[in-house]
């Protein structure tokens, strides 16, 4: 009997140890909790939030990769970028954020499909999710040298354009189903940019033509939490990590290029964070709550203008479309007497219209690869795409 009691005691003690150690901690959410209809809005907001984080990083670093801004600070990675090098070991932050945004959206769509079943194709949240999946793929395709999907092998970067175009098509279908004009325009605008990127200029112009000039679809930023902030003001207005100095846009009088020379108390031009460069701050993103456009009606005009130059060699029609956009901004019309002049206007207008919106690097990249009047030589002496992040290279056995 004594032996039985001892055994029971030991079992009881071990049971207490095993089960007594079980705790339920609040805060982080176990993954299984996401598999319910109630969680779908949060899943989609998460996609939007992660897209905003990735896009913010793209606009800031992309400004140094391109001619949007000059690096004038002390942070390690942009210091390297300012030399023209874009190395794997320096780009992890961008690579990680962009891929998280893509994976969250694409895997989230699969999860939502399992949750919603038949209601999947009539859900506004699903339409949004497709948009976020499309735009996150666009970010990757426009900047990365290669596509890597879910730990897979190295692929051509245009894979992202294909995926993005498909997502935008799905988004358009659902938006049309539910009669959501705003989402439908976003899908058309997104797909227009992707068709253009794939060289399907007629299809691009067709989608672009459906989008009104005043339309904007934006990555959302907010003062609500630090994670939601637009990070341009602290990097350019509060600290001079980036400056407009020594860019094509320095001192250009254009409402799309708001800027200001920072002065010392003595009235001299202040030096930026590196202690050397003149500090000219951007004022396009004045507060941490300023949204950043993902697609705009004015971009659509420029896509259509580029199509005219590429497909029809129609300078007049192209300039007409360019000037519609300038007119929207209250600017005088431009004129061009040749294809070269028209291409120069188009390239400058795209730079001005989408300044600090993370698109310039792609434009410079694609134009660099062309010959003729569309060729742009800015990237001649520097790296022209973002390599696979070092973290991905280290851990992905398929690379």
């Amino acid at each position: 009997m004594k032996k039985q009691i001892s055994v029971v005691t030991v079992i009881a003690c071990i049971s207490v140890i095993i089960h007594g150690c079980d705790v339920q901690n609040p805060g982080p959410i176990e993954e299984s909790a996401l598999n319910s209809p109630e969680a779908v809005p949060g899943i989609v907001v998460g996609m939007s939030a992660d897209l905003s984080v990735a896009y913010r990083q793209t606009t800031i670093w992309g400004s140094v990769w391109s001619d949007d801004m000059t690096h004038s600070g002390t942070y390690a990675a942009p210091t390297v970028f300012s030399t023209g090098e874009i190395n794997s070991e320096d780009v992890d932050t961008w690579w990680d954020y962009a891929h998280r945004a893509r994976w969250v959206a694409e895997s989230g769509l699969e999860r939502i499909n399992d949750i919603l079943g038949d209601e999947f194709n009539s859900s506004e949240n699903v339409a949004k999710a497709y948009l976020y999946a499309g735009y996150s793929n666009r970010i990757l395709g426009e900047n990365a040298c290669y596509a890597v999907i879910d730990g897979g092998e190295r692929q051509d970067f245009t894979v992202h354009f294909d995926r993005a175009a498909d997502h935008f098509t799905e988004a358009a279908g659902i938006a049309e189903n539910i009669g959501n004009e705003n989402l439908l325009m976003a899908a058309y605008a997104g797909r227009a940019s992707m068709e253009a990127a794939r060289g399907n200029w007629t299809a691009a112009a067709e989608d672009a033509g459906r989008v009104p000039v005043d339309y904007r679809f934006e990555a959302v930023y907010s003062l609500n939490t630090g994670r939601e902030n637009n990070d341009w003001p602290p990097n350019t207005i509060e600290r001079g990590e980036y400056t407009v100095w020594d860019t094509p846009w320095e001192g250009v009088d254009d409402p799309r290029l708001p800027q200001e020379v920072i002065r010392t108390a003595d009235g001299d031009t202040a030096t930026a964070a590196n202690g050397r460069s003149p500090w000219i701050t951007q004022l396009k993103h004045e507060t941490d709550a300023d949204n950043i456009a993902l697609s705009k009606g004015t971009e659509m005009l420029l896509i259509r203008a580029e199509m005219q130059l590429r497909e029809n060699q129609d300078v007049n029609e192209a300039m007409e479309l360019i000037n519609q956009g300038r007119s929207y901004h209250g600017l005088d019309p431009l004129s061009a007497g040749s294809m070269e002049e028209a291409w120069q206007h188009l390239q400058e207008e795209r730079g001005k219209d989408m300044w600090l919106e993370g698109r310039r690097f792609w434009d410079l990249r694609r134009w660099y690869g062309e010959s003729g009047p569309s060729h742009h030589n800015y990237l001649e002496a520097q790296d022209r795409c973002v390599p696979i992040g070092q973290g991905e290279l280290n851990m992905n056995e398929n690379l």
Binding site: C21, E31, L34, R100, T225, G275, E392
Partner: protein, 1108 residues
């Protein structure tokens, strides 16, 4: 003979008892029995009162005692020893039994079977023929003693003398209650009472050898000549044995003698640090525990340091030792780092040094096996003081003094002390002559001040037979060394109570409460930091101010920094309840309940009008941590023969830790009021975490004692933990150890080689993963302007378990020449397998956080060497020295899927296979002395991030028995760190040691000079790597002079008093070019860095202690 009163229930090792009782039997052969029935009650009463003046005896025929003595009881005693028979009688009454241990004849067997017998009759019958009598004290103590014959007694009164005095600890002067003083070759002796006094009466004239003994102390011998009718006063100071074989140490299974322990244990007793003026346990540990690294981290009063025992054993988890206070776990984690200072406070430092009886430091997995998961970083056990039965003793201490920085920063080419030492006058300029002025430099012309220090402590301890108490209080007010910022103020109380409600049961309740308020000097990597802005001169973020005299100079106002509010308020409550029930001498049970409660509110407020945030902002961090402990420990001892004993321990523990951290932010106040969080137009909850971790374990240990000479111990611990993965079961940690006292052999030359103990141990312990590491989770976030959403958080790992550290340890301890030389040598070799390694995620799979996996392997080996020397032992002059050396060698053997883990990029700190954990890597200049631009060996290894070798040197000189000079120095070397302050200032042209070089033509400089003093605008690019430096340093941790005031000066109730003058950190010798090689502004990380942290300071203190 004199009677030595022992409390009933005295515990001891079986071997000792047997030897003691054997001696007792021999002594009893000499005892003349006297017929008990002839006793005259009044005579007995008088004799008992004479023998035990500390007790109050009453006639057995009076009052309550009469009733108790005449109550009837039933007895069934069959062939039991006299002691057992007396115990049985006492057990049936309300009397407690006290007896003179040497007086109980063990050979006498008693048989007494009575259904109804009065207690009085029973006692007389049991004592019949023994020569023993009993008396009853007013406290219902049944005191057994040996009577003198009336005639002999009278003769002794007329012809005998008395030896009396005080027995105190040699260093501290504290009394040593429980010590024994005997006259060798006689049966006369006395036990020292709670106030440290003893008295041996009735000594025949003659010359004797007076011997005083106490466990853990060297025996004291002195020839004394006793004269009739004379009271000879002999005051005795006992000095501690450095490696006493019978010194009691605290282990996971309770108190035991050091000879029984198979691992190295470091014990610091209160008298060891009494001379040091240590203000907290961290300062006590500094330099005193070989193999322990204690770094101060920063120089703000209230800052907690870094403590590592045998280095870093974990890459991802805490390397902090776990802390026990009076048998219960308290939080071993520091509070969150303060927003402004980057520093944190340590709950360990809330223990008042005046309350500490001892600190046991358990290092390495072989020694911490029974502590289980979380113990691989070692264990620190603090035992606080308890009261003793006897006279009430008060201790009071008053400390006054000041903190002083001395020169700020490197001494070479730095006359202004980086503009902190001098903020007015000459030299306030950059390398190229740009002048600046401090608008609000203090009147003294320096930001530095002598920060006043006040400490007051008072304690009282006392007790009666069944109840004792120790109560203390302290108040501390310490100013920092920056004029207008920094300091800490706190109060603390402690109440320790022990009582014995019934026979065999002892209840101990210890409780302490601390409250302190610390003002932090903003520092570290902080744009509003005081050190950053002051040392950057005109580049301060507070330049462009008004109020300066010189219109040509750039005007800065760094005073504004100190006018912001950066404080922390902390409370710490520790409560332990220990119930010990010992139903027999063989079986002991201990049940421990513990509750540790920590709160800390960190506040950083920049008021409305602050130039950097004109509308103001406030940040609050609320942190609360509780640790609940429940432990049962059972002990069974059995002696198979006189030479063979077995001790079995078994037990179970459950620890539950709850940590709650809430971070709140508010900004844009509407006016210049003292704000609260609600004052801001915008508010944010920036963080909120509530983490609960539970550990449960059972353990068992069996120790075989062979001839009290060889001790073989084996044990096992089985643990569960809430952070283990769902697929992971229980964790088992075994251990085995041996301790062999070879000097107990007869052939051993103990005349000069007094003791020699060999030991070896092999054991395992663990370190649990983080609370969420095993679970795949998503984080709640906001998006779309405040809408709730999810983002990937932890990948999770259902197979996750603890990392296991297996350690082999061996060594010896020996003493020579009557304890004048003692040494302790230890070698250890530890391997951590299944080490928790952060395996980076594949980013294209969405989760960005690393996945913690049990895939690594680390090794850590080293030696520890202690040498204590009694250099001089002459009347009026004694000189002791202590020497300690330790060396540790860690290596990351296998990091799983990677061979490189970045710990801190700007600290150039990495973990790489084949190198120490962690190491410093960077670009090394390969042509440092060449007149050329620097050439680099990129990614070169410099050395470990922390010192891996240490030499401590202490000395104590005692003059004329009342003057003590004590000093302790520490040389820590082998570590490297980035002097980021020099890098940041140097490239801006505001690092004075670089001025001369920066003013020269670069073509005349060496590669090293060009690199280290490279300007932003120069040809050579400034790099952190240029400032990777060795942090080797020697610090004189303390030097003190203590004067024990002569006893004849004592007045009234004052029994003793001392005055101590002490200095801490008086001297630093280092080639490190930053402000302090001990700094760390990377708290909570394996890395450390010197980035505008406040350097440590010196303290000059005077302490007046008195006892009454």
């Amino acid at each position: 003979m004199e009677n030595v009163i022992q409390r009933y229930g005295h515990k001891g090792r079986g071997g000792n008892r047997i030897v003691g009782l054997f001696c007792l039997m021999l002594l009893l052969l000499l005892i003349q029995s006297a017929p008990a029935q002839d006793a005259d009650p009044d005579q007995i009463l008088a004799e008992s009162q004479q023998l035990h003046p500390e007790m109050e005896f009453v006639k057995s025929s009076e009052g309550e005692n009469q009733r108790l003595l005449h109550q009837t009881i039933s007895l069934d005693i069959h062939r039991r020893s006299l002691l057992q028979a007396l115990e049985q009688v006492a057990g049936k009454t309300d009397f407690s039994l006290s007896y003179g241990m040497l007086n109980i004849p063990m050979e006498k067997e008693v048989t007494l079977k009575e259904d109804r017998i009065t207690v009085n009759e029973a006692l007389w019958k049991i004592l019949e023929g023994t020569g023993l009598h009993f008396a009853i004290s007013s406290k219902k103590q049944l005191v057994i003693f040996k009577r003198y014959s009336p005639t002999l007694s009278k003769q002794r009164v007329q012809q005998t003398g008395t030896v009396a005095g005080e027995v105190v600890e040699a260093r501290s002067g504290e009394p040593l209650p429980g010590a024994n003083v005997i006259l060798e070759g006689t049966n006369r002796g006395a036990s020292v009472d709670a106030s440290g006094e003893y008295e041996i009466t009735g000594i025949e004239e003659g010359t004797y050898t007076l011997v005083a003994r106490f466990i853990g102390y060297q025996p004291y011998r002195e020839e004394v000549a006793v004269e009739a009718d004379t009271r000879l006063e002999v005051n005795i100071e006992l000095r501690r044995e450095a490696v006493g074989l019978d010194e009691v140490v605290v282990t996971a299974t309770g108190e035991t003698r050091s000879r029984e322990v198979g691992t190295s244990l470091s014990r610091i007793n209160s008298d060891d640090f009494a001379a040091s003026a240590a203000s907290d346990p961290q300062e006590i540990l500094t330099g005193r525990v070989t193999g322990a690294t204690v770094l101060a981290n920063a120089g703000n009063p209230g800052t907690g340091g870094t403590i590592r025992l045998r280095g870093n054993n974990s890459i991802t988890q805490s390397n902090n030792p776990i802390i026990y206070v009076d048998g219960i776990r308290i939080s071993g984690d520091d509070t969150p780092t303060h927003q402004a200072s980057g520093q944190s406070a340590s709950p360990l430092n809330d223990i008042n040094p005046n309350d500490i009886e001892s600190i046991d430091v358990v290092k390495g997995a072989a020694a911490t096996t029974l502590y289980g998961t979380e113990a691989s970083g070692g264990v620190i056990r603090i035992t606080t003081k308890q009261g003793e039965a006897g006279q009430t003793t008060w201790n009071a201490g008053i400390t006054g003094g000041f903190n002083n920085m001395g020169h700020f920063g490197p001494k070479e080419d730095n006359p202004t002390g980086l503009f902190v030492g001098r903020c007015r006058g000459e030299g306030l300029e950059t390398y190229d002559g740009i002048e600046f002025q401090e608008a609000n430099c203090p009147n003294s012309g320096s930001w530095l001040q002598n920060g006043l220090v006040q400490r007051y402590n008072l304690s009282v301890s006392s007790g009666i037979q069944d109840f004792s108490y120790y109560i203390s209080g302290e108040f501390e007010n310490e100013e920092g060394v920056i004029n207008g910022g920094g300091g800490t103020r706190g109060v603390g109380f402690r109440g320790n109570f022990r009582f014995q409600p019934v026979e065999d049961v002892t209840i101990t309740y210890n409780s302490s409460y601390n409250h302190d308020n610390t003002d932090w000097v903003p520092s570290g990597n902080n744009g509003d930091g005081f050190v950053l802005n002051v040392t950057r001169g005109p580049g301060s973020n507070f330049s462009g101010a008004s109020g300066c005299d010189d219109p040509e100079a750039i005007c800065v106002d760094n005073r504004e920094i100190l006018e912001s509010k950066n404080i922390s308020n902390r409370e710490h409550f520790i409560s332990s309840l220990v119930v010990e029930a010992n139903p027999s001498e063989r079986l002991q049970n201990r049940l421990t309940f513990g509750y540790d409660y920590n709160t800390s509110e960190l506040e950083s407020t920049q008021y409305f009008g602050y130039s950097r945030t004109p509308l103001g902002q406030q940040s609050i961090v609320d942190w609360k941590k509780t640790v609940l402990s429940l432990e049962y420990l059972g002990t069974f001892e059995h002696s198979f023969t006189q030479d063979l004993g077995l001790t079995v321990n078994w037990g179970a523990q459950i620890f539950n830790e709850n940590t709650q951290t809430t971070r709140l932010f508010s900004e844009d106040f509407s006016g210049p009021q003292e704000p609260t969080l609600i004052s801001g137009a915008r508010k944010d909850i920036t963080g909120d975490s509530r983490i609960e971790v539970t550990t449960g374990g059972v353990f068992g240990q069996a120790a075989v004692d062979i001839n009290d000479q060889l001790f073989l111990t084996t044990g096992l611990r089985v643990d569960g933990h809430s952070a283990f993965g769902e697929n992971y079961g229980l964790q088992v940690y075994p251990k085995v150890s041996a301790s062999y006292v070879v000097s107990d052999y007869d052939f051993w030359p103990t005349s000069w080689w007094n003791t020699m103990r060999l030991r070896a141990a092999l054991g395992e312990s663990g370190q649990a993963p983080g609370a969420f590491d095993a679970v795949r989770t998503w984080s709640p976030i906001a998006g779309e302007d405040g809408q709730p959403g999810f983002t990937p958080n932890q990948i999770g790992n259902p197979d996750l378990g603890p990392e296991r550290s297996r350690e082999f340890e061996t060594g010896f301890m020996a003493s020579f020449l009557d304890g004048r030389i003692t040494t302790d040598v230890t070698y250890y070799n530890q391997t951590t397998t299944e080490a928790l390694i952060p395996v980076p995620a594949i980013p294209s799979e969405g989760f960005l956080s690393s996945q913690v996996r049990n895939v690594g392997e680390l090794t850590n080996s080293g030696i520890e060497f202690d040498l204590d020397l009694g250099l001089l032992r002459r009347p009026g002059l004694e000189w002791d020295m202590k020497f300690g050396f330790s060396k540790e060698e860690s290596e990351a053997v296998d990091l799983g899927t990677t061979d490189n883990i970045e710990v801190a990029f700007f600290g150039r700190t990495y973990i790489r296979e084949g190198y120490p954990v962690p190491g410093i890597f960077g670009a090394r200049i390969t042509n440092p002395d060449e007149i050329a631009d620097p050439e680099y060996q990129e990614d070169a290894y410099f050395g470990p991030a922390y010192p891996d070798k240490s030499i401590s040197l202490g000395t104590t000189v005692r003059l004329m028995d009342n003057i003590t000079l004590d000093a302790l120095g520490e040389y820590k070397y082998g570590g490297y760190m980035v002097n980021a302050t020099a890098y940041q200032n140097g490239r801006r042209g505001i690092w004075p040691p670089c001025y001369d070089l920066q003013r020269q033509d670069e073509s005349s400089l060496t590669a090293s000079q060009r690199a280290r003093c490279a300007l932003n605008t120069g040809e050579v690019s400034p790099r952190y790597d240029h400032w990777i430096e060795s942090t080797d340093f020697f610090k004189l941790r303390h030097v003190s002079l203590t004067y024990d005031l002569p006893r004849e000066w004592m007045r009234g109730a004052v029994k003793s008093a001392s005055l101590k003058i002490a200095a801490r950190n008086l001297l630093t010798i280092t080639d490190y070019s930053g402000t302090d090689p001990e700094l760390d502004d990377y708290r909570g990380s394996l890395a450390r860095r010197d980035y505008y942290a406040m350097p440590t300071y010196r303290s000059f203190l005077a302490t007046f202690n008195f006892r009454f």
